[in-house]
Symmetry: C2
Subunit: 357 residues, 2 copies
Amino acid sequence: MEHLFAVVMAGGSGTRFWPLSRRLMPKQLLALAEAERSLLAATLDRVAPLVPPERALVVTGLHLAEGTRAAVPQLPPENVLAEPLAKNTAPCVAWGAYHALRRDPDAVLAVLAADHFVQRPGAYLEVVRKAVEAAADGSLVTVGIQPSRPETGYGYVELGEPVGLGGSRPVLRFVEKPDRARAEEFVRSGRFLWNSGQFFFRADAIVRAFEEHLPAVARALEPILSAEGADDEARIVADAYREAPSISIDHGVMERAARVRVVPGDFGWSDVGSWTTAWELADKDAAGNASRGGELVWVDARNCYVHAPAGKIVALVGLDDLVVVDTPDALLVMPRERAQDVRTVVEALRGRRDDAL
Amino acid sequence: MEHLFAVVMAGGSGTRFWPLSRRLMPKQLLALAEAERSLLAATLDRVAPLVPPERALVVTGLHLAEGTRAAVPQLPPENVLAEPLAKNTAPCVAWGAYHALRRDPDAVLAVLAADHFVQRPGAYLEVVRKAVEAAADGSLVTVGIQPSRPETGYGYVELGEPVGLGGSRPVLRFVEKPDRARAEEFVRSGRFLWNSGQFFFRADAIVRAFEEHLPAVARALEPILSAEGADDEARIVADAYREAPSISIDHGVMERAARVRVVPGDFGWSDVGSWTTAWELADKDAAGNASRGGELVWVDARNCYVHAPAGKIVALVGLDDLVVVDTPDALLVMPRERAQDVRTVVEALRGRRDDAL
C-alpha cells in the first residue's frame, strides 16, 4: 500500500447542519458523529493505517483552507489543496491525481468524502484493501453499500456478474437518485447497491479516463505534472480552475468509463445527511434522547436531539422527536422529520442575515 | 383622591417565567405583557392619574430593592420598602398601612399586585375610584373579576345582595382555589367573582382589622407610626419581621373581617400566570405566532411563542403551540399547555445549577 494516496474531497459548504454549520465552518469540520473529532479528522484517521499524513491530500475551497489545516494539523500544510473556484468534483479528483502522479508514477488514489461516517473502521479498512486490489489492473472502483431502505436521496450502482477479482464486481450502470417506486424495486431486486461516493483507482488510470471522457479537465490540470513546488502548483491550478468545466466525477467519468467495478462494503456507513442522522448516530438514553454540549433537563421528552453550547442549560418539557440546535447567534427548533427543511430556513435568511450563514 | 396611597406588593420571586425570570429578576421586573415596560412599571403608571410617585409605595425583598428602584426611577428611593424577610402579604400590607398612616391619618390604601396586567386602563381607573369610594366608610374592599372560565388556580368571592354604595356589594365569603367541579358550579351560579388580589381600605380601618384578627402583626409593625425617618423605619421593620407571623392578607384578615365588600371590575385583567398567558396577551401574526426579542423565521409554525435575546435568530419549522424561551445561559422548549411544568425544570436545577435560577 506504499503507493496509496488519499484524496479527501472537503469542498462542501452545505446548509443541512445550520445553524451549527456556517460558511467558514462546514459540516466536515464539525464533530457531528463523535463528540471529540470532526468528520474530516475521522476520515483521515480511518485510513491512517494505510495512508500516512504525507500521502493524505485534502482538497477544499480557498476560504476553508485555514480552518481545514487547523482541523488536521498532522498533515503537511501543502497537502491541503485549496481550490480557487468550486467546480464540482471532477477537477478536484484530477488535481489529486496529477499531484499524486507527479510524486509517484504508481500512485493509487482513495478518493473519499470528507463528511461521511463509518461505524466499523476495521471492516472499512478491509474494504479499502479490496478496492485498492481491484484497482490494480486499471479499473475504476467504487464502494457500494447494501441498501437498508428505499432511499431516494442516494445514487445506486447495478451489479454485474462477478468476474475475476474476488472482492469486486463489475458495475452495469449508475442510477442517479431514483423515485420512490424505483428505489423500492432496486432494493427488492438485490442487484443494486448505494453508491457511497468513494472511489479507488490508479492515478494513471483516472488520468486516462479524464483524457477520454473529460479532456477539458485533463487539459486544464495536466500542467501540474511538471509543477516544481506548491507555489508553482497553486499558480497552475488558478489558471486551470478558470478553464475547467464544473462537473462531477460520477457523471463526468464513472458513468461513462468502461472498466468500472464495485466493492460491496458493510461497515456502518452513513453520509451524515441531516440532523436526523446526528440523532441516529448519537448515544441515546433510555427515552431515546441524545444531546451534545448542553446541560440537559428532560421532562417527559422522548427521542429528541439537542446540540447546544457547552454548559448551556436546555430544558425540554413534554416533547417527542424534536431537534433543537442552539448556537450563540441562532437557534433552530423542528421535528426530526423536518430536518430537510433546514434549507428553507437558510434561504429565508439569505440577504437578510448573511452574518449567520 | 389626595389621600390615596398605592401599596404595591412586589416581593414575589416565582419560577413560572424561568428562564427569563431569575432570583434577582422576578416576573414583576420583566416586560412580559408589553414590549417596553415591566409589569411593575405598568402597575404604577396605571394608577398614576390618582397616585403621584410620592404616594406610591413598593414593598419588595431586600435582595430586590436595588433592581426595583431601578425599574421605577420616578419613585423617591425611600418609597421602595425592602422587607428583610419574606413573611407573606399580611406584614407587607401592615407596613404600608402604618407608613401611610404616619404620613396621613386619612390615608386610603390601594394594595396592588406588582405583576398583573390590565388591558383597559381607563375602565380600570373607574373601578379604582369606585373601590376607594366603597372604602370610605371603613369597609375592606376587594376587586372581583367576572369569571370567563372555571379556573381552578384562582380564589373566588361570593357576592351578597347589593346594599347601598352603588358600585360595590358585600362579600358573603372567600373561597380558596376550588376543584374543577366547584369552579364550574361557581361560574354557572353567577354569584361568584374571581378574587383579583387588589384591596382598597382606609389605613386606619385595616390597622383596626389587624389589631382584631392579626394582633401579632399589628404589635410588631405598629412602632412604625412613631418612626422618624427611613432609617428609623428600616430598623423597626427589621425587628418586626423577625417577630411577625408569615400569613397572607387574604387568609389573615379579609376572610375573617366583617365589613368586606367587592367591586366588580371588567378591565381586561390578567394575572400573567405563565408563558401561556404571555402568548395570549401578545400581538400575534395571521398564523397565531408571537415573539419578543428574537429575529424569527417561521416555517409551517402556528400558535407559537418565542422569547429570545434581541437579534438572535430563532427558526421554528413545522411546529404548533410551542413555547421557546431563550436566554444566554438557559433555553426552555415546551408545548404551551405544559407551561405549568416550568417549576419541574426549576426544581431539577436547584442545587445543580443555582447560578441559572
